[in-house]
């Protein structure tokens, strides 16, 4: 299954698949960013009548006329969608749906009407004929190259050129069209240019991957890349890589299992996307859950410290020490509380005395003191500067106390040089720099 074991014909098919995938992925990145992914979907469905009309008018199945017809249909789709949205005040996605489904209906009727005369199987429009590209070759510098490959390579070159030449304009218009217009760029011009590019890409690619699967090739690599990086340049590069890998892997798997190449490419892109959704380092679902768990543990640890501090504050003389059971009952028992307590014990912020009593170590007391100080300072701030009544302060401060940094606490201390919070409880003094900088 290694590339070396493929014959020339198969290598050309794989190469065509790769070029097609990358050519689609690049403009697709901008579609994803501008939330116009479904325009690719719409155009790819709507090209059918373009093909049919081209056939009817020219009486031939010459590829160039098919492409012209399809491109016309694609542009008309995007124009009508925009017109419906702007003047008919129809929501954008509904406008797209109405236009492309009607176009497709017209296409099926025309194709059906002329299907006898010509060998135009609508099915191949849907999923392409990339497996047969080697059958239709042209001669380039003496080598027999599949015609589709040539077209797709030109398309790829054109797309790359457009993106490089108009990099700044595309970037600005994609992220801030109002600013772009204010700066003198024609946001509408760039918009229509991008639409033309998408239409052309769809049309040239449909021959290889079919008009419906081109949607996956347009959007999936870009969306996957968007989950992996925040920078546009890297997103484009990653999308190209992902698309190329989908082409290679998809082709090899399709060859192995004797099935549709285009379908397999779409499946592989989908799998790549799913992997990113789960595993992407910053935006992946699993990593987000991990971050949330780490945060939840920190908050729970600090809650325990706070509780122990307040307990000691309230019952100085008759200090019945708290055990785990009381802590669990107060804070909410679960594996998280158990975990948090174990962590605190391990870090030496809490010590366990005889009889299961839990007490703060000096380091723990310092940390707890800082936390409670933050809490009460925040309550004071809310009461004084936002005028909230006393019974509204605790909940908000409970949440905020975990996120008050030392510098913010210092600022609050300067702003509110008072001794007690709105409930009359003393605000603990700031911990000295000399104290162990143990962070809960």
């Amino acid at each position: 299954m290694i590339p070396g074991a493929l014959d020339a014909g198969e290598l050309w098919v794989m190469a065509t698949a790769v070029v097609c995938a990358v050519a689609c992925a690049l403009p697709g990145c901008y579609l994803v960013l501008r939330r116009m992914s479904l325009l690719g979907d719409a155009i790819s469905h709507a090209v059918l009548p373009g093909l049919a009309v081209a056939f009817v008018l020219t009486g031939t199945r010459e590829v160039i006329w098919m492409l012209v017809g399809a491109l016309g249909a694609g542009l008309l789709t995007s124009l009508l969608t925009t017109a419906l949205h702007r003047w008919g005040r129809v929501p954008e996605d509904a406008a797209m749906g109405v236009v492309f489904s009607l176009f497709f209906a017209v296409g099926v009727i025309i194709v059906n009407a002329v299907a006898r005369q010509v060998d135009l199987d609508p099915r191949c429009v849907l999923y392409g004929l990339i497996e047969f590209v080697s059958l239709d070759t042209v001669s380039v510098a003496g080598i027999q190259v599949p015609r589709s490959f040539v077209w797709l390579a030109i398309l790829l070159g054109a797309n790359v050129l457009c993106i490089v030449v108009f990099y700044k304009e595309l970037k600005l218009v994609s992220f801030d069209p109002a600013l772009a217009t204010a700066m003198g760029f024609s946001a509408a011009g760039v918009h229509y240019g991008l639409m033309t590019q998408v239409a052309a890409t769809t049309v040239v690619s449909f021959e290889s991957v079919g008009s419906i699967l081109v949607v996956a090739m347009l959007i999936a690599p870009g969306a996957t890349a968007h989950l992996l990086t925040d920078r546009l340049g890297r997103m484009l590069g990653l999308a190209a890589l992902l698309a190329a890998s989908a082409g290679v892997i998809g082709y090899l798997l399709a060859l192995r299992w004797n099935t549709s190449v285009a379908g397999m490419m779409a499946v592989v892109s989908g799998v790549e996307f799913a992997a990113a959704v789960l595993l992407a380092p910053r935006y992946g679902f699993l990593s987000k859950m991990l971050h949330q768990a780490v945060l939840a543990a920190r908050i729970r640890r600090q809650d325990i410290l706070g509780m122990l501090y307040r307990w000691h504050e309230r019952s100085t003389r008759d200090a019945r020490p708290l055990g785990y059971a009381e802590v669990r009952a107060a804070i909410g028992g679960s594996w998280l509380t158990r975990l948090a307590l174990a962590s605190l014990l391990r870090r030496g912020l809490v010590v366990r005395h005889g009889g299961g009593a839990l007490m703060l170590s000096p380091a723990g007391r310092a940390a707890a003191q800082s936390l409670v100080r933050s809490h009460r300072l925040w309550e004071s701030y809310l009461a004084r500067h936002l005028g909230l009544p006393p019974d509204h302060l605790h909940e908000a401060s409970e949440r905020m106390e975990h996120f008050i940094t030392p510098s913010l606490q210092a600022r609050l201390g300067e702003e509110l040089p008072i001794g007690a919070d709105p409930h009359g409880r003393p605000i603990p003094p700031p911990i000295e720099k000399g104290d162990s900088g143990a962070v809960a």
């Binding site: 579609l31 939330r35 749906g97 109405v98 489904s101 379908g263 397999m264 959704v277 935006y283």
Partner: protein, 448 residues
Amino acid sequence: MSDLLRLLLLQDANTRTVLIGASLLGLASGIIGSFAVLRRRALVGDAVSHAALPGICLAYFVVGDKSFAAFLGGALVFGLLGVLVIAFVRRHTRIKEDAAIGIVLGSFFGLGIVLKRFIQNQPGGNRAGLDTFIFGKAASMVTQDAALIAAVAGLIIVAVAALFKELRLLCFDREFAGSQGWPVLRLDLTLMGLIAVCTVVGLPAVGVVLMAALLITPGVAARFWTDRLSTMVVLGGAFGLFSGLLGTALSAVLPGPANALSRGQPTGPMIALSAGAVFLISLLAAPRRGVVAELQRRRRLRARIALQNLLRDLHESSETGHAPTGSLPVGAIRAFRSWSETALDRAIRRASARGLVRYSLDRLELSEAGRAEAARIVRAHRLWELYLIDQAGIAPDHVDRDADEIEHYLPRDVLERLEARLTSERHGSAPEFVPASPHPLAMPGGKA
């Protein structure tokens, strides 16, 4: 002609079945599709219909060609799976809904094509049944299919009626519903589930792509006629039903392609086109939101503005001492605002028809009523200019156009109330008082 007669008299049992099935499908899609359009989920139906394909193929692997119900079941399972994936991606990642729909659509459909090819490769793999799902073949609908469609239509009507309040709030103010403790996510998934069921049941009749037409188009058409949700949903259902009827009838009655073995046009596309025709008529002819009505409104507004501008010009020219005899040659008026000849002509005719000007020997002068009206207009304009200069700090030579826009586009009663306030604040004096212009007037001799 005899075909049409047979059709109208419902003599052909097969056509009868298809008519009933298609109409009920249209009814169901129109109703649930209206909510989809409002929830900006219009293309979820498209995604579901594409996502269903692998389910159908898997059902074929499991039970073979025998059971149509298995196909539908597989389609539904994968359609719902697609919906869940879209919801998950939307909720837990920063990928937006449109990209999620596109990815689900493309990759699930790709999986379906891969599986379909496996089936084709098998000996005796009959894929004719599978193709039906892609392009639809309403003409081969039998009584059981129509019955199933009827059942789904009934389910949708009952569900929508029962959950109408909740769905309405979900569509218009999701956050509020959530804050009131309603199970927003579950409602959303129920809505998408109903869309999925409707889509799947319609696939054999209309095919993958055209199901989107049937879901979206009647709802969008209904929107043009009303602002009330209940009316829109009912209209959407009615339009859908009509499209199903008309499309089926047309497909049976129209001549088929030349040299074809089968009669008529394919049903799915004809239904979609009927829906499109209803949409087009709604777009153009709807009384308030339609294009024609909008154009008429604009035309009336332009005429009113032109009339007011004409009166103002005549008044201002008398202020600047430009018309000592009280009348002006039309050519001079044209120069004030670079009127086009036709526009000025129309304005003059309108003004004369209302008795505001007298036009003779190519000269124009204000009548009594015209003088009063012109004074009112100019006073309003000047007051606004003064207001803009005072309160908005706009330079005097910038206020002419801004005041123009305010006075022409605000409704009259609002204008009157505001003017009353301005007058008493600024000038306390008689309401007929016309302040002097704060900037040079744009006409010869018009220096302030």
